[in-house]
Structures are given as structure tokens and as C-alpha cells.
């Protein structure tokens, strides 16, 4: 399986994502934001970081960059696009995903492990994943997901909520919501479920000794579903 990670000026999780994808068997290539096209890929990843210094709004400048038209075309033709953290913010700014990531409710940059509950398995990312609750890492200042009531209704009606913040037992109450995101949303799909945006970083949880391996479960599972 071939993957492509897009690098924007200010991306800083691109190499971590490259390491993770290669570890689980993807043939990954790194694509510069100013390129015109993306080589044939089974998966495109928009990595975390601070693309264009988070100027204007997080992800807004990247969502108009030269390479992004190819990403949108790929997504619209059914290709898998994963946006993590700043990648999620970029996906909302392109309009591929509804809503927006606002500043965290308590104005603090949050960098810690969280638990998320997998809410939908009828998709390539989470089908047959071995755990329903994953321990992943978040590191963001703007992860407070917000959308209009109509968009929320449509997300719920089509099972587009991918993962929600919870505790290790799956409790989704307010105290387990790190950033104020509406309905504890940590990640969502588009309505065809080929585009996934999420704040937690699976690529940071792929080492038994350093971090735990719930990110490994995510990548192994995705690769298995693509084969």
C-alpha cells in the first residue's frame, strides 16, 4: 500500500507519521505543499503541526495551498484522506469535513494522553479494530470542535462521529472532555467515511516501551482493511 504525507511549512509531525506508516508496511512518500500533484496513493495524510504558523485561523492558509486541490480531488473520488491534529483543522477549512476547531475552552495548550471511544466501525479506519477504547496522545491549542446544529444532526444521523473523548472505562462525561469539544468529539468522518479528521495522534503511540501501542492497533488495522 502506498501513502503520501503532505508537508506544509510549519508541519512538525510529518516525520513521525512517516516513521509510523513505514513501520506498519506502507510505502510512504513525502510531498511538498508547493507540488502540483500527488503520486498514486492509497492513503493521503495531512500531518500535525502549525502549518503557515497558524496564521489567520489554524489550517486556513494550508487549505488554499497549491497541493490541496489534488487532495480534494482525491477525497472526492473516494480516496482515503487522514488528517491528524493540524491536518484535521486543514480538512475543516477545505470544507471536506464540516465544522471548525476552535481554541480550547480553558485557553491552555494541552499535551497529554487521553482515551477515545471508537463510535463507528463501518469504515476502513476502524473496521474490526481490536479495542473500542484507545489511549492516544493529544497536543493542541485549538481542538475544541464546533459545528452548527444542522451539521451536528447530519453527523449523528450518518454515524460520522468517529471518536469521542472518554476515560479508560468509556465514560464520556464532561470531566473527560479535555478541550470543550461539542459532544466530546475528537474525530469525525465525511459522509462517505473516506475522509477522517481527528485531534489525537496515533503516530505517537506506536512503541511498546515509550508510549503504548494503541496507535499501532490503528495503523495495523487500517493496513489490513486496505489490503
Amino acid at each position: 500500500m502506498k501513502s503520501s504525507v503532505i508537508i506544509f511549512p510549519g508541519s512538525n509531525c510529518d516525520r513521525d507519521m512517516d516513521v509510523a506508516l513505514k513501520k506498519f508496511g506502507f510505502k510512504n512518500q513525502m510531498i511538498w505543499h508547493n507540488d502540483n500533484s500527488i503520486p498514486k496513493s492509497d492513503l493521503i495524510v495531512l500531518p500535525g503541526g502549525f502549518s503557515y504558523g497558524d496564521y489567520l485561523r489554524c489550517g486556513s492558509i494550508a487549505s488554499k495551498s497549491k497541493i490541496i486541490k489534488s487532495v480534494i480531488d482525491f477525497a472526492n473520488s473516494g480516496g482515503l484522506v487522514l488528517g491528524v491534529c493540524n491536518g484535521f483543522q486543514i480538512l475543516t477549512e477545505t470544507g471536506l469535513l464540516p465544522g471548525i476547531l476552535q481554541q480550547n475552552k480553558y485557553l491552555n495548550f494541552i499535551c497529554r494522553n487521553v482515551f477515545v471511544k471508537v463510535k463507528d466501525k463501518q469504515n476502513k479506519y476502524f473496521k474490526d479494530i481490536k479495542k473500542n477504547i484507545l489511549e492516544l496522545h493529544i497536543a493542541h491549542n485549538e481542538g475544541n470542535y464546533f459545528c452548527s446544529n444542522d451539521e451536528m444532526k447530519s453527523l449523528e444521523d450518518n454515524n460520522q462521529i468517529a471518536v469521542t473523548y472518554c476515560n479508560k472505562n468509556g465514560d464520556e462525561s464532561d470531566e473527560n472532555n479535555p478541550n470543550g469539544a461539542i459532544k466530546n468529539i475528537a474525530g469525525i468522518f465525511n459522509n462517505k467515511k473516506n475522509v477522517l479528521g481527528m485531534m489525537p495522534h496515533p503516530e505517537r503511540m506506536i512503541d511498546k516501551y515509550l508510549s503504548g501501542e494503541d496507535g499501532s492497533l490503528f495503523f495495523e488495522n487500517l493496513l489490513r482493511n486496505l489490503n
Partner: protein, 77 residues
């Protein structure tokens, strides 16, 4: 000509920075402050002499880039 734009959060959208500023002002004994909303201000120099045409262009810019209409409103001054 220079066109000025203000982008603000829509009413009802949580503005944590505005809230923090309000609480700080209250703490500084500006007890009359009930609410603060923070926004962005742009001065856009457009190569256009006709004000109506310039503002039309800026409106398009607001919709496509300067404001995210999910949570923000824009006002062209």
C-alpha cells in the same frame, strides 16, 4: 484604496479569549464590564478606484478566506 474589515465571532459562539479579558478587566476594578468579544481587524489595499467594486471583491475574500462562516461574521467598514 484601502478597505477595512472586522471579523468577529458570531453571537452564541464561545469566545474564551474574550471571557479571559473580561475577567481580567473585572479584576482590575473595571466592574462595569459585562462582556468582551474579541475579533480581527484587516486593512486591505485593493488596486481599484471604485469603492463599490473594491468592496465587492473584499466581500468575496471574506467569504472565501478571511472569515470562517461557521463561527464568524464579517463587517466591511
Amino acid at each position: 484604496m484601502i478597505i477595512k474589515v472586522i471579523v468577529t465571532l458570531k453571537n452564541g459562539v464561545l469566545d474564551p479569549q474574550g471571557k479571559a479579558i473580561q475577567q481580567t478587566l473585572n479584576g482590575m476594578n473595571f466592574s462595569s464590564v459585562n462582556d468582551v468579544r474579541q475579533g480581527k481587524f484587516f486593512e486591505i489595499n485593493v488596486n481599484e478606484n471604485d469603492e463599490t467594486k473594491a468592496k465587492l471583491q473584499v466581500e468575496d475574500m471574506c467569504k472565501k478566506l478571511l472569515a470562517n462562516l461557521v463561527i464568524e461574521d464579517y463587517k466591511i467598514l
